[in-house]
Symmetry: C2
């Protein structure tokens, strides 16, 4: 099934409209997901009311050929653009507020595709209480479609949880299951906003991030100098999609779980060993349907347990290589 953003037929393309008509169309597609100016599209800047909370800003794009291809329906592309960024807000325990979207698009971009993209974006924006408050449209080269979203959020409680703060002996947890995201999860996931906010309210949570480049690579960002993650290979929650991928690739299911990336699950560092039972019970009560798995601990770099996973063997995708 093909859902190409581009069309060879001029009257089906964005150039059949001018910029002003295109902006009017976008405002219609966004509907009530985009507030009225100056709180939305239409002035030099969008206005966001003052806040007493810490503010959060993150930016991630979707680019044709990089983050999606012609097999992904346009609505799913629009939704993915917002959800990728929501996952970053979730990873600090925040609540999303407002987004701006800058498009660079080829003159041969299909209007019907763009409509699907914005309907998907608007739908997700409503679901997660985000307002689309502004943006920009610029012509790009033939065959190019890139949408660059910046999401603005704020803390839900007193603190935001950063990547820094893990200590020796801390436990490492991960939500959900990992791997095989190219089989659909990369555009069908649910950002862990409720879970992230709840975790930020738990004092035993010391650090957090989302898994976007694969656990093997991302976990490095949580690892303080002098320590290393001591992971139990048998504990890694491997998705069914990772197992299916493994049957085709001939690689181990574990390799897919650790290296595929685009999992959009949360990696959570929890203080010491004594806090674990109460923490796990509290999670069970609050999120009975979301798996939370203890996958290892942080140990001194030169005293890793004998059976610990060698993460370097499973490094995920490095961009620009």
């Amino acid at each position: 099934m093909s859902a190409s953003p581009f069309t060879p037929t001029r009257r089906e393309s964005v150039t059949a409209h001018g910029e002003l008509r295109l902006i009017a169309l976008i405002r219609r597609w966004l509907g009530d997901a985009s507030p009225r100016s100056p709180f939305g599209i239409g002035d030099d800047c969008a206005v966001i009311p003052p806040t007493k909370n810490q503010q959060l800003v993150t930016t991630d794009p979707v680019i044709h050929g990089q983050h999606f291809d012609d097999t992904v329906p346009p609505r799913a592309v629009g939704a993915k653009l917002l959800k990728r960024n929501l996952s970053d807000i979730a990873a600090m325990g925040g609540r999303p507020v407002a987004a701006v979207v800058s498009l660079a698009l080829a003159p041969d971009t299909r209007i019907a595709w763009l409509r699907g993209f914005y309907l998907g974006l608007a739908d997700s924006a409503r679901r997660y209480s985000v307002k689309i408050v502004g943006g920009d449209i610029t012509q790009g080269p033939k065959g190019f479609f890139g949408a660059f979203l910046t999401l603005h959020g704020e803390s839900t409680g007193r603190r935001v949880v950063t990547r820094g703060g893990a200590k020796r002996g801390d436990r490492i947890y991960v939500t959900g299951v990992l791997g095989g995201s190219l089989r659909g999860h990369h555009h069908r996931f649910t950002p862990r906003l409720a879970e992230g906010a709840w975790l930020a309210g738990r004092p035993e949570v010391r650090a957090m991030m989302d898994v976007s480049d694969g656990l093997a690579k991302d976990l490095e960002s949580l690892t303080p100098a002098g320590l290393a993650p001591a992971l139990d290979a048998g504990a890694i929650p491997i998705s069914a999609a990772a197992r299916r991928s493994a049957r085709q690739s001939g690689r181990a299911p574990l390799a897919h779980a650790l290296g595929d990336g685009e999992d959009y699950e949360l990696l959570v560092v929890v203080r010491g060993r004594r806090a674990a039972p109460a923490f796990e019970r509290a999670w069970q009560n609050r999120f009975p349907e979301v798996k939370l798995t203890a996958i290892g601990t942080f140990a001194p770099k030169n005293h890793l347990p004998a059976g610990a996973l060698r993460l370097a063997d499973y490094r995920g995708y490095e961009h620009l290589r």
Copy 2:
């Protein structure tokens, strides 16, 4: 003089580095223009402290072939990226705070060019007290370079000035001179931040915007239903560059002043006629070196004075056409 962002030599290109090394380089190039994580690059989101002021968000990119070409030095491209957005904050009377930058770049992007780009961005960020707090890098197609900046700011006083609010009889002013921006002004301008903040503090100022697509097109956004701008052709402040452009193009200097765009001057609507003398004196005292010109008034659409400029004859560039 050529300053192409691209190189045929692999070891001079971004692919000679990986993503992680490239991010390390970018942090070095930005230097103290980029605060430490979590207030800058390095976590899932950047953290911005709470504020009691209204917040402002705007987004504008620079794309090779659209907003700059190989004649523009990379430092000027980086500076232009920030200044385009600063001009939008100025147009609402705000103060800039923090920016994120999302790059889509071809594998053949030249490292030395990218360094110049970031040094120019960092230099402007320091000059205008903006922190570069985050971003993203994604691979784009061969020959593509686009940098998408989202700027976050806040009001300087009690109010932000929007585009809405002009009334019959209000005067229209413009700062500086207009036209011929392709002769260098499009990357050498100074965003009118001090002027915008001062204007937002003047109660007689009813509406404001910056001139980016050309006065003939932009003025429509300030014009309320039922009214039309009655401009005095002889009053339009035409730049020397517009006159030089006219000698080459064979078009009237006025056509360049009204249609070229990328002026990054402020269009200001001031209440009635009686407020004008005091307003103009106050401006003179505060900004003796910045020209402020009364160019016309808002009149009822069907009672335009006989000699009023027909703006429709001078509409500027429409994107995507």
